[in-house]
């Protein structure tokens, strides 16, 4: 399964009244990979969170396939994320005391038993593919690159149609970053997932199908990648 994105009049305003995000229109084809760049504080993370239905006071429409997230109650949005969205955060956010496998299969803890098995095996599969062979070790002893791989495995374990990644290669050295983004893109493209990846790293967004630049909460440029 694969999902396209349609944004209509998306606006996020801070409690102070400051405009954080203003996206009148955006369409993203199912299975495509979108890079998001822009200066720090421009609203890239806010944009990504809006796509996941995590921003409470967003207005407009964020529609994945047929589902307009912004018109749904919090519980339904959570259910949508559970089913269809895999998220990779700027700073991993792992449970340090759990093993890599347990972290990657985290969503199994709250899914039905049949699903749990699928999640666990998928998590193992992705970990292996990403070169994490010591899945039983607790992640507190993992390096930054290894942690980021575990975080990616967690996002992919439930086989979602959409992957939202915030700086997936931040704080990694060049070589590790390149290898990781290649692996991520391969995994995403293999299964026709739609990817939105925020990054400062040209090596990331030049590998995408399309790149938008956000400046001061607005889309400043929107172009196909080379």
């Amino acid at each position: 399964m694969t999902l396209g994105l349609t944004i209509n009049a998306l606006a996020v305003t801070a409690a102070s009244g400051r405009m954080l995000l203003d996206v009148p229109k955006l369409h993203l084809a199912p299975g495509s990979c979108l890079g998001v760049r822009g200066p720090s504080g421009a609203g890239k993370s806010t944009f990504l969170f809006s796509l996941a239905g995590l921003i409470e006071n967003a207005s407009g429409a964020v529609t994945w396939g047929e589902t307009n997230l912004l018109q749904m109650p919090a519980g339904a949005r959570a259910a949508f994320r559970r089913r269809s969205v895999g998220m990779v955060f700027q700073d991993f956010l792992l449970f340090e005391e759990l093993s890599a496998s347990a972290n990657a299969a985290l969503s199994g803890a709250y899914s039905d038993p049949a699903h749990q098995k699928a999640i666990e095996s998928k998590a193992e599969e992705v970990l292996t593919r990403l070169g994490i062979s010591h899945g039983a070790r607790t992640v507190d002893s993992f390096s930054g690159g290894e942690r980021q791989r575990v975080a990616i495995a967690r996002a992919l374990a439930s086989d979602p149609a959409v992957i939202l990644a915030d700086e997936p290669t931040a704080s990694l050295d060049r070589k590790t970053a390149d290898a990781l983004i290649d692996d991520l893109l391969a995994l995403v493209r293999d299964t026709g997932k739609t990817l939105v990846a925020v990054s400062h790293d040209p090596a990331v967004y030049t590998r995408m199908d399309r790149v938008i630049e956000i400046v001061d909460g607005r889309i400043a440029t929107d172009e196909a990648a080379r």
């Binding site: 919090a74 959570a78 005391e97 039905d112």
Partner: protein
């Protein structure tokens, strides 16, 4: 009133242990139901384990606080029951006491628990009428007032010694006026001699009876009462030591024990009466409820004393629960604060799309685990506390107290668990009300 009364009445056809087990289950039921509802369908425990481990020392402190408050609470309640049982056991051999009119409680303390007090004496004629009354199988004078090394010396008869200790563990019954049989806890050996002091406690006059010496000839079995620290001597000797007639006419001056001669009977503070049949005791009590005598069952006086304390017991149980709940509330407030440290992880779960109820179940299970481990450890602390306090009380009062936790305490702990895991729903709700994105960015 006991709120569990109706439940007990509904299941009174069951064996006692089954009744208690059912009540335990019913008390745990709210906790089990809430736990089942909260956790149903989820597997929060690997996350809970991770969170417990992450702040293990803080968690251990919380568990320790709960355990100590639960333990001391149930330990004290068990102690109160142990004390009642101990005092009742100590009073067991004393079927009926006849004494000069006065306070039954003073006499109870003097005759049964050997607490010194000045009481008027019964005359020889009165003693004679008791001893010769129909159905009386034992009428033993109990003459206290002297002591040796803080051991009270009590004058009585060989029949009384046999009543207290049907067999002697060592030596033999006294045969001469200067013989003594000691309680199991008296630090003297057979054959040892000692001089009695007049009076007991701070008021003793050591030299009053300096010319007199008793010889230890036998040792009684342990009774679990202050009598274990008593020295029983022939009542004739007590009288003689005080320069009085010895209860027998001069021509029978060497006799030990009954019958006594009313004309040579200097008086006794109390008489222990035992009837041939149990029921006859009631008639005897009525018979000696006169202008010159009062008669009472120590067991009954004790029971009414315990009855008075029944309210105290209820209050104590309630206070114990309140204290435990207060401590647990403190712990839960601590948990709410601790949850701020977990806020990022909980926000992560919600960002990933975990159902609210799952996040709720993680927080609740975490709190409930602390409470449950604390309560179970509290039972252990309670056993320990009861054992230690029992030893102290036994050493202080010579009344053998064997307090140990039993069903009422287990019920209390079960009720405590149910109440506090319900309270633990509060931090779980608070955790859910936190803003996801703010916590995620923190």
């Amino acid at each position: 009133m006991n709120p569990l009364g109706p439940l007990y009445r509904a299941i009174e056809w069951m064996p006692i242990a089954a009744q208690d087990a059912v009540v335990l289950l019913v008390l745990l039921l709210p906790a089990l139901v809430v736990g089942g509802l909260v956790i149903f369908g989820y597997r929060p425990f690997s996350l809970v384990r991770a969170m417990l481990w992450r702040f293990r020392w803080t968690n251990l402190l919380f568990i320790g606080l709960i355990a100590v408050s639960v333990g001391i609470g149930v330990g004290l309640i068990a102690q109160e029951r142990g004390l009642r049982q101990g005092t009742a056991r100590a009073a067991d051999p004393f079927d009926l006491i006849v004494a000069a009119p006065g306070s039954e409680i003073t006499m109870l303390f003097a005759a049964v628990y050997l607490q010194p007090s000045d009481v008027p004496l019964l005359s020889g004629d009165t003693y004679q009428s008791i001893a010769t009354a129909e159905n009386v199988s034992l009428a033993a004078p109990i003459a206290f007032g002297d002591s040796y090394n803080a051991y009270p010396i009590v004058g009585s008869t060989p029949q009384f010694v046999t009543h207290m200790s049907p067999a002697l563990v060592e030596g033999a019954m006294f045969r001469g006026h200067a013989d003594a049989v000691i309680g199991s806890g008296v630090d003297l050996t057979i054959g040892a001699t000692f001089t009695p002091a007049h009076g007991v406690g701070d008021a003793v006059e050591h030299d009053a009876h300096a010319q007199f010496k008793y010889t230890v000839v036998g040792r009684m079995q342990p009774t679990g009462s202050p009598w274990d620290r008593s020295i029983v001597v022939p009542v004739e000797a007590v009288w003689e030591v005080h320069g009085l007639a010895n209860g027998h006419a001069p021509e029978r001056a060497d006799q030990l024990g009954p019958p006594f001669d009313p004309d040579y009977f200097p008086g006794t503070p109390a008489v222990l009466v035992s009837a041939e049949q149990l029921y006859a005791n009631y008639a005897l009590r009525a018979q000696f409820q006169t202008a010159e005598t009062m008669a009472f069952f120590p067991g009954a006086v004790l029971a009414s004393l315990h009855g008075l304390m029944g309210d105290v017991r209820q209050v104590m149980s309630v206070m114990a629960v309140i204290t435990q709940v207060l401590v647990t509330t403190g712990v839960l407030v601590g948990l709410v604060i601790l949850m701020r440290l977990f806020a990022r992880r909980l926000a992560l779960l919600r960002a990933l799309g975990a159902p609210s109820r799952f996040v709720f179940s993680v927080v609740w299970s975490y709190a409930a685990t602390l409470i449950f481990i604390g309560a179970v450890a509290g039972v252990g602390v309670g056993f320990l506390a009861a054992a230690i306090i029992s030893r102290v009380v036994t050493a202080q009062t010579d009344i053998l107290v064997n307090a140990t936790l039993s069903w009422p305490e287990f019920h209390l702990v079960a009720g405590f668990i149910s109440l506090t895991v319900l309270l633990a729903l509060v931090p779980a709700f608070i955790a859910l009300s936190r803003p996801v994105i703010t916590d995620l960015r923190s």
